[in-house]
Symmetry: C2
Subunit: 188 residues, 2 copies
Amino acid sequence: MKYCSNCGQPVTLRIPEGDALPRYICDHCQIIHYQNPKIVTGCLPIWKNDEGEDQILLCRRAIEPRHGLWTLPAGFMENAETLEQAAERESVEEANVNIEQLKLYTLISLPQANQIYIIYLANLCDKRFHPGIESLDVKLFHEHEIPWDTLAFHTIQFTLEKYFQDRKQNHYPVHTHTINTHNGKSAD
Amino acid sequence: MKYCSNCGQPVTLRIPEGDALPRYICDHCQIIHYQNPKIVTGCLPIWKNDEGEDQILLCRRAIEPRHGLWTLPAGFMENAETLEQAAERESVEEANVNIEQLKLYTLISLPQANQIYIIYLANLCDKRFHPGIESLDVKLFHEHEIPWDTLAFHTIQFTLEKYFQDRKQNHYPVHTHTINTHNGKSAD
């Protein structure tokens, strides 16, 4: 932030009186511009086949960051929607899925990225999914097929690991977690 | 938003190509300024007395909105902190509490307010709390003393109601919820 979004004059970064952290302050119109973490939300879509086995839907990213790597469908929550609406909207945008029974699953703080991740378990209603504009590919994976080495984000790895652990007990409690590195899984 | 925070030129509100919602767009530097929901987080601080009874700590607000009404200590999550750090920081700022054992409890979408609330259960370590600058008063309440008619926010009422219901079974699962009105509890 270089300019005040209210009056267009330059802002300065300093600690306001009575505050503890530096903020962007407009000395022209006296507004303090707070900056807050963003919410990333999405789904872990589960397909149960006729043999009772389950497969997980992953998307291969067509956009940066992490172009070409695999992820769960997720993205930034928008104003005027609920968390569940946002998680479903992102899943539809990225994979054109038909999902139901969203259940809160992981809640992850990413202090270095100024984000929180909120991922829901969801059941796939059918296999008529296909890539949205932000995905190169969308596929179902058995556990032994999960591309652990080419996952895009630590948050996705954590959520998938918890899912396969919890599946053994068929019990899926909400998991809270903090990831103290950047979210991208390799050199960034 | 009237001006671009990157270059200071006026922005226009319109739907970008390939998008579905109107955004503030700078035609000078081509930046799209997305606006996203904010995270409010805090605690439901519990004091267990020598008789095994519990009391809940509430704060009487010294600031708008809802000046003079009662609330749980909570506020906006900041960049570079975890949800638990934010919930504890807000509790310390508003009530100077010493708390421990934070446990995720309610997760509430407020689409009309462009907010989500995330409230943790927490144990008070001692009774040496006192009002911070944003509180007129800080007090412990037995269930029958809760000021239901002068609570500040629907999110706080929902969280307290769930707590007293769950206390009967001594089982406190995570509750998700949506509040489709403004959060303030009376005419706003």
